[in-house]
């Protein structure tokens, strides 16, 4: 399965070109777009994600338009059911649930995208170097990746997330600040999330570096950095994009779990995960508080997974050909 995914872009272009001969006038890019459009779940997912992203971005505007304050605690309006003033009701501190969901979406989406990006960057860098240079560095990186993949990561992440940063010399007010708790969770997830990309990129590089054009570039005196950056990386983009998209969903799940357990994003900053922390206590009296944040996590994660699946079909025509047969 992985072998099919790591199919280098060079071969896909070749295949795309040969099918272009059947359908004249279509560039490889247009063909990719066409294949993507045929994957209905992916198209729907993309639309849902754009809508969610826009709504989260527009949270301050919606807040002003509703005439409410998302952070205003009102102990006389605790856990109200949905009403005209609060379309989704209020949470256990009387804050408007819809607005908290939108602000929480900003945090969850930003953490998901940022951590997936950093993990992909680390994985791409390590995979490129390991695949190109080989030798002891390659075996060390791959051994490390295999070990990290097999470990029970959640308890380890919980230990790492529980570290008191002020004991590392950070000033206490900084160690508990909102920004640092965001950076910390992004860093932690990137630290364990690079493995899949690294293996895919290494696999692609291993086959690419034997190609004539790479050998030609080397014979012409291109330095290793140039070979990797100009000749290898662009042809390994497809598997990287697919793996990164698929990992966003996992990252959002992981962030929500850690925040739910009280070790990720700290209240009062809302994230979809930490909004569910108190849900088990209010489940008898206000079940809607337990439904909405989880539903949004679910919808977002499944959308990213479908999107990744669609991108794989679009960018990796070999998989497409296999599907058709």
């Amino acid at each position: 399965m992985t072998a099919a995914r790591s199919d280098p872009g060079g071969a896909s272009d070749l295949l795309a070109a040969s099918s272009a001969a059947v359908q004249p006038g279509l560039s490889p890019m247009r063909l990719r777009l066409r294949r993507f459009r045929r994957h209905l779940p992916a198209v729907v997912s993309l639309a849902v994600l754009i809508l969610l992203g826009l709504a989260a971005l527009a949270a301050p505007l919606i807040e002003r338009w509703m005439g409410l304050d998302a952070t205003a605690v009102d102990l006389f309006a605790r856990a109200l059911p949905p009403s005209a003033r609060h379309p989704l009701g209020t949470d256990e501190l009387g804050r408007d649930l819809l607005l908290r969901l939108l602000y929480g979406g900003r945090v969850s989406l930003a953490v998901g995208l940022a951590a997936a990006l950093f993990a992909a960057l680390i994985g791409t860098g390590l995979g490129l170097l390991a695949g190109y240079y080989g030798g002891w560095f390659d075996s060390a990186v791959m051994r490390l990746a295999d070990t990290v993949i097999a470990l029970p990561l959640l308890p380890l992440l919980i230990v790492l997330a529980a570290v008191d940063l002020s004991k590392l010399g950070l000033p206490p007010e900084l160690a508990t600040s909102e920004e640092v708790s965001l950076y910390r969770i992004v860093g932690l997830i990137a630290l364990v999330g690079w493995t899949v990309t690294a293996r895919l990129v290494r696999g692609a590089v291993l086959s690419l570096k034997r190609r004539e054009y790479v050998l030609a570039a080397e014979a012409l005196g291109a330095r290793p950095a140039r070979v990797m950056w100009v000749h290898l990386l662009p042809n390994a983009v497809s598997p990287i994009v697919v793996a990164a998209t698929l990992s966003v969903g996992n990252v959002i799940l992981l962030e929500s779990v850690l925040s739910f357990l009280g070790l990720g994003i700290q209240p009062p900053v809302p994230s979809w995960g930490n909004m569910l922390t108190g849900a088990q206590e209010t489940i008898w009296s206000a079940p809607w508080l337990a439904i909405w944040p989880g539903l949004l996590i679910f919808v977002t994660v499944i959308a990213f997974n479908f999107l990744g699946d669609g991108l794989q079909d679009a960018l990796d025509p070999k998989a497409e050909a296999e599907r058709a047969s």
């Binding site: 399965m1 993949i149 230990v159 529980a162 570290v163 337990a290 499944i302 599907r323």
Partner: protein
């Protein structure tokens, strides 16, 4: 074979040692210094008393000395005491490891039993309505936040229907234990079945494209014989590896499930230990969990070699 086993076991030991060094080093950075906690519990303690206490517990010695002392004890089977339970760590952990293995084993078996027919069904008719439905189900499974799934199950089966207990371990009788095991096992099964279906479907689809399948069809074997007798057996080989690599994830799922349902397993114990500043318990728990997962992995690799005679373990 013996060499392979020795190599792998050394590898497991190495991972455990590296992990124990890492986590032992982190303990000093955790919130809630044990001596500070004692001082806050007894306001009469003076600064001199605190120093004496530090000396008594060996906390005045450098980190590597303390680690070596801990390691020396651990190698002789002395893993220290749990502050939270006031008992030797191992005595606390072993019954809970049994609880976790019960939960994980049941969920794993159930997930495989559900995934096998679904994966076969989907792979036999790619792009059909059945395949689409199974795929949707699998994607939903891997996208569900496990703790939310637990909340939903509690909401449905415990709050609304009142059929099953919302959490806890029961009264120790078999019926009590089983009724408390149903919901957590169901949650963990649903959380892992989606991934298994996807691996199986992909692997079986790949196998069904192979030449030996065409040969089998050409010589007139029935579709069932071709799929189950030829393709599925070969498709299982890569699936065993991926599923084995997923044991760590399965343990993570067990941690969440146990915490949500109050099932007294390893995952919940590690989490409670960290939240309750009982870091010795957390450290040993983490090592025990990691060791178990890695050994399960090794076991799967042995299975792999047994399934595929082409593979020699070296």
């Amino acid at each position: 074979m013996v060499r392979f086993l020795l190599q792998r076991l050394t590898g497991v030991g190495l991972v455990l040692v590296v992990m124990s060094i890492l986590v032992y080093g982190l303990i000093g950075l955790m919130p809630g210094d044990p001596i500070d906690l004692m001082i806050s519990a007894d306001p009469n303690l003076t600064a001199a008393d605190a120093e004496r206490l530090r000396a008594v517990y060996g906390l005045d010695r450098p980190l590597h000395e303390r680690y070596l002392a801990w390691l020396g004890g651990a190698l002789q089977g002395d893993f220290g005491y749990s502050r939270l339970f006031g008992r030797p760590v191992l005595e606390t952990l072993l019954p809970r490891l049994a609880n976790t293995l019960m939960l994980m084993g049941l969920a794993f078996a159930l997930a495989l039993l559900i995934a096998l027919p679904l994966g076969v069904l989907a792979a036999r008719r790619p792009q059909s309505l059945t395949d689409g439905t199974v795929n949707l189900f699998a994607f939903a499974g891997i996208s569900l936040p496990p703790f939310w799934l637990a909340i939903l199950l509690i909401l449905l089966f415990a709050v609304t229907l009142g059929w099953l207990p919302a959490g806890g371990m029961g009264d120790g009788t078999l019926a009590g234990t089983l009724s408390h095991l149903v919901l957590p096992a169901l949650a963990l099964t649903l959380a892992s079945v989606g991934g298994y279906v996807r691996y199986l479907r992909a692997s079986l689809m790949e196998a069904l494209r192979q030449d030996y399948v065409r040969t089998a069809r050409a010589k007139g074997l029935s579709d069932t014989r071709v799929v189950y007798g030829h393709a599925l057996r070969n498709a299982m080989i890569p699936v065993v590896t991926v599923i084995a690599l997923d044991f760590g994830t399965l343990f993570g799922g067990a941690l969440i499930t146990e915490t949500m349902f109050g099932w007294l397993g390893m995952g919940k114990t590690i989490y409670d230990a960290i939240m309750g500043n009982d870091y010795n318990l957390a450290l040993v728990g983490l090592l025990l969990a990691t060791g178990t997962v890695l050994l399960a992995n090794l076991l799967a690799d042995l299975c792999y070699a047994w399934l595929d005679p082409r593979i020699r373990l070296e």
